[in-house]
């Protein structure tokens, strides 16, 4: 079997690889380029965890062979914060990433890269997608934590940032803001009693009887 030389631009950097024709694009990305943010869930084209942004559209990288990416331009989740749109919101992140952070679109995070790249592709075409359009757009992406509610809100948040509208306040950071997305996707406020202060992971919490 003749190996193929391929050259493609991944996250802005030109990369060259020698691959067997049977190597899938997702494997080239994960194994040869060590970009393991692109996930493999189902291997059959059903789950969307392997979604990447290729030549202006979202595709499933488990459904094409690596040589088919020769000459193409690919963005994976690792490259999102280097895109021109990054930093348009309140952080240096891409607005879609910021949306997932602010609106708690991420639970275990397995589906997240695929969801974010599918979301990015939608927002290239629509700057104000309806909830239905967002849901249709991520219909090829399965979230095994079944957290679709906040994922939709995350993409809506990104649409606002990209179109220069005021995005909603994060319900996680500001639990009294009245925004409906919730930490657990269920009841607003999620039963939290700590006023929603973000946990300070660098702080030393007292042990023992809890009396500081």
């Amino acid at each position: 079997m003749t190996e193929k030389e391929i050259t493609f631009t991944v996250n802005g950097t030109e990369r060259e690889l020698r691959v067997e024709p049977r190597k899938l694009l997702v494997h080239a990305i994960r194994e040869d380029l060590d970009l393991t943010g692109t996930h493999i869930g189902c291997d059959t084209g059903n789950c969307g965890a392997c979604t990447v942004y290729k030549d202006g559209e979202a595709v499933k990288s488990c459904l094409q062979f690596a040589p088919q990416a020769d000459g193409s331009e690919i963005t994976t989740v690792e490259g999102m914060e280097d895109l021109p749109e990054a930093g348009m919101g309140e952080s240096d992140l891409h607005p879609v990433q910021e949306g997932f952070h602010e609106m708690h679109g991420l639970q275990c995070g397995f589906c997240t890269p695929g969801m974010m790249l599918a979301g990015k592709a939608l927002l290239e075409e629509h700057d104000d997608p309806s909830e239905t359009e967002i849901r249709q757009n991520i219909s090829g992406n399965l979230c095994r934590c079944t957290g679709y509610q906040n994922i939709v809100k995350s993409i809506e948040y990104a649409a606002d940032v990209l179109a220069g509208r005021e995005p909603p306040e994060s319900p996680v950071e500001n639990p009294s803001s009245g925004v409906e997305a919730t930490a657990d996707g269920g009841e607003p406020d999620g039963g939290r009693t700590d006023g929603g202060r973000p946990l300070d992971l660098t702080r030393e919490y007292p042990r023992g009887d809890g009396d500081e």
């Binding site: 899938l24 291997d43 969307g48 595709v59 459904l63 062979f65 599918a118 249709q136 219909s139 090829g140």
Partner: protein
């Protein structure tokens, strides 16, 4: 599982593709790969050579001429979904495109590849049949056209020769007095059809001059329903007329019971969807509003 080893060829013309198919060992055409890649990984397909047609720019088009709507072999599902010509005049194509798989798969998968795949659950086969379409194939002896009616033979089997590739799909241009629709029942968004029905009608004044109905996933191939067409032609559209056509379609269908539903349930759904598709088609023929209705019936089993 990995696909078995193969050689990857990327011809840049149809002639080159055909001569590769003719001269190489156990070749297969690769278009969008949305069916072929998984089949190769499960080793249901084990080609020694893959003739990847994605670099043949001549095949990448979707156009409406005076006579035809024509889809080049590289027209993707998403191209149909975004086409203004389709939205304006070809209701069943406009209904069908967004109901195939999911957005990422629609960006890559081709309509011609779906026809070549000849899966009885494939949606486009019914649309092509309902529109009296034809498959344009290129082989060592040049070009020939195969009527859709003669194309599908068995599940995953069709009348293409080994060294032939589909270069285009063609359907007669839709007149102002024509309308068509596609209705699909599936368990969830992005799924294959449990039942699908394509309908097309041409009106002459108040009467149906010409009609066709074709079915997805309820026989060993996509099938058209000649009895229903005969029943409709020369008649004035009415609920009763469509009901009888739906019954004829159900009689003609041959579904199997599986984990998604009993044969009886599916037959009943053929009856229901045929009536809805016909009603949409007639409405569109009258109002010239082809993409006005949604062709999906995403009611899951037991969803009532």
């Amino acid at each position: 599982m990995k696909a078995a080893p193969f050689e990857h060829h990327e011809p840049s013309s149809v002639e080159e593709a055909v001569s590769l198919l003719e001269s190489l060992d156990e070749p297969l055409v690769l278009a969008g790969g949305q069916s072929l890649v998984p089949m190769m990984r499960f080793r249901l397909a084990v080609p020694e050579t893959v003739v990847d047609i994605n670099a043949i720019d001549d095949l990448d088009y979707l156009r409406e001429t005076d006579d035809h709507l024509e889809l080049g072999a590289l027209a993707r599902h998403a191209d149909v979904e975004r086409s203004a010509a389709v939205a304006e005049n070809y209701g069943s194509f406009a209904d069908c495109a967004p109901l195939v798989a999911d957005p990422q798969i629609r960006n890559r998968g081709t309509v011609a590849g779906s026809i070549a795949q000849s899966d009885p659950k494939g949606d486009w086969g019914s649309v092509l049949l309902a529109h009296d379409g034809e498959v344009v194939a290129h082989g060592p002896d040049g070009e020939r056209t195969i009527p859709a009616e003669e194309f599908f033979l068995l599940p995953y089997d069709n009348s293409l020769d080994d060294a032939e590739i589909i270069t285009a799909l063609r359907v007669p241009a839709s007149g102002d007095d024509e309308g068509s629709a596609y209705h699909k029942l599936k368990r969830k968004v992005g799924d294959y059809a449990m039942v699908g029905v394509a309908a097309r009608v041409r009106l002459d004044g108040d009467e149906i001059a010409d009609a066709s109905l074709a079915l997805t996933a309820v026989d060993i191939t996509n099938v058209s329903v000649p009895d229903a067409a005969d029943h409709l032609e020369g008649e004035v559209p009415s609920g009763d007329l469509f009901e009888r056509a739906g019954e004829l379609a159900a009689d003609h269908s041959n579904p199997e019971s599986d984990e998604h539903g009993s044969a009886e349930y599916k037959e009943n759904m053929v009856r229901v969807l045929a009536q809805r598709a016909l009603a949409d088609a007639v409405r569109r023929a009258r109002t010239d509003d082809p993409a006005g209705a949604v062709g999906s019936d995403q009611t899951a089993v037991g969803d009532d």
